[in-house]
């Protein structure tokens, strides 16, 4: 069980690590692809996310929910929310 904020923090740190910057410079609203992440890295992030959340995810979810905000909200709603 993770909160949307925890998921956002994880994704921010992960993207920051890839582009060698500090997490606070990574926007919640800018699409992943604008950071120059290519398909191998996008799929690798999904794979690491699966391990961290202990969930099975489609490798395409970062394209379907292309920002940290959209993705973390969807992940929370689809997997951890009781609604």
């Amino acid at each position: 069980m993770k909160t949307p904020e925890e998921i956002q923090k994880w994704l921010r740190e992960r993207v920051a690590g890839e582009i060698k910057t500090e997490p606070e410079f990574v926007s919640l609203q800018i699409p992943f692809e604008n950071y120059g992440l290519d398909s191998i890295i996008i799929v690798t992030i999904v794979s690491d996310l699966e391990d961290w959340l202990n969930l099975s995810l489609d490798p395409t979810i970062l394209w379907e929910y292309p920002t940290i905000e959209a993705l973390s909200e969807w992940l929370f709603k689809a997997n951890f929310s009781n609604q």
Binding site: S39, I40, V43, T60, E64
Partner: protein, 404 residues
Amino acid sequence: MNEKNLIWNPFLEGYFENPHKYLRHWREQNPVHKGINECWILFKYEDVKFLLTDPIFKTWKTHEAVTSANKYLDESKNFDELSKVFQKVLLFLDPPEHTHLRGVIAKIWNFYSLQEIIQESVEESLEELSGKREIEIVADFARAVPTRIISKILGLPAGDYKIITNWSYQFISALEPFVSLHELNKFNRHAVEFHKYLTKIIKYKEHNPDGVFISRLLEVNKTLDKPVSNDEIISVLCMLFFAGIETSVNLLSQSILLLLENPEQSEIVRETDQLSASAANEFIRCVSPVNYTKRVATEDFEIRGKKIKASESLFGGYISANFDADVFENPEKLDLTRNKNPHLGFGHGSHFCLGAKLGREQISRSIPALFRRYPNMNLQSEKSYKWDKLIMNRALKSLYINLN
């Protein structure tokens, strides 16, 4: 399905189980568009044929993509072994290198009398089923037959069957569009093992020539003006493994499923030892073992109102093209007597499948042999099969059958 903006995404609900409802929608409503991965997808028969024949397209080079992923690794690590086993796969090469290497391989390849090898492999595989009442037919037959055939053609020890067929599966999986660094790392480890294994085999064959494929390739290579290195020979063999085995596993297993689901057609199969050309072609059309092929544009062009830029990549959807109602009458029906069937199941143009003849003869002999041996074969239940999540080469993961 009426959503205008529904774009290509193989992870849409139910795509792996039945891609055709989606493919029909895209083919009819949006036949050229950028899929979820930002890659262009072509769905119409005519467009796929254009992609395969027009010189403005070059091949997608998986080995280069693998090498470029090295930038994400520590300096002490790399994916070079994987890149090396892919470097001479014909599908990734362009002329003039493609033309030359294909010529060398074809000369040896066409030398084979396939009939005997196929017959033996089918009989040995059926023999292993004897006494069983229930089988998982993907592993027990559809994989057994082509792995035996390729091992015999190349001249590999029969006992190495399991590792060979696993490498074949690993390498076809490495061609998928959505692959992570973790998976690349795993494929690279397989490439290291594959390379070690074949280096030993090549060394052995150099001292003990047996006149079959690997030996002959080594001999022919010595006579070339510019002989290829052992690494390059290993890469050619890698291609023969995954292109020869995985496509056949998928063709055989999915043809068996089609027959079990269309029992009225299975009579035709039981009446003969060898399928007619039209029956074999119809299985190849309906299964389309290679679902997509990837190319790269070398200049800007326009197609159906869409502007494609140089260096953008495109997928040609064989599976969609082979069900295009502009070309095939009643395309969703399996019709083993179909006359007009110019399918693209083996591709088209300069990269037309080198093993097409083998593919045709293999299905022509093995399907009747299986259905004659087990005329009352049936699915254990409606849900006794599972699809793999492979996109480029659609595959059944398992298919449970009662042999009776």
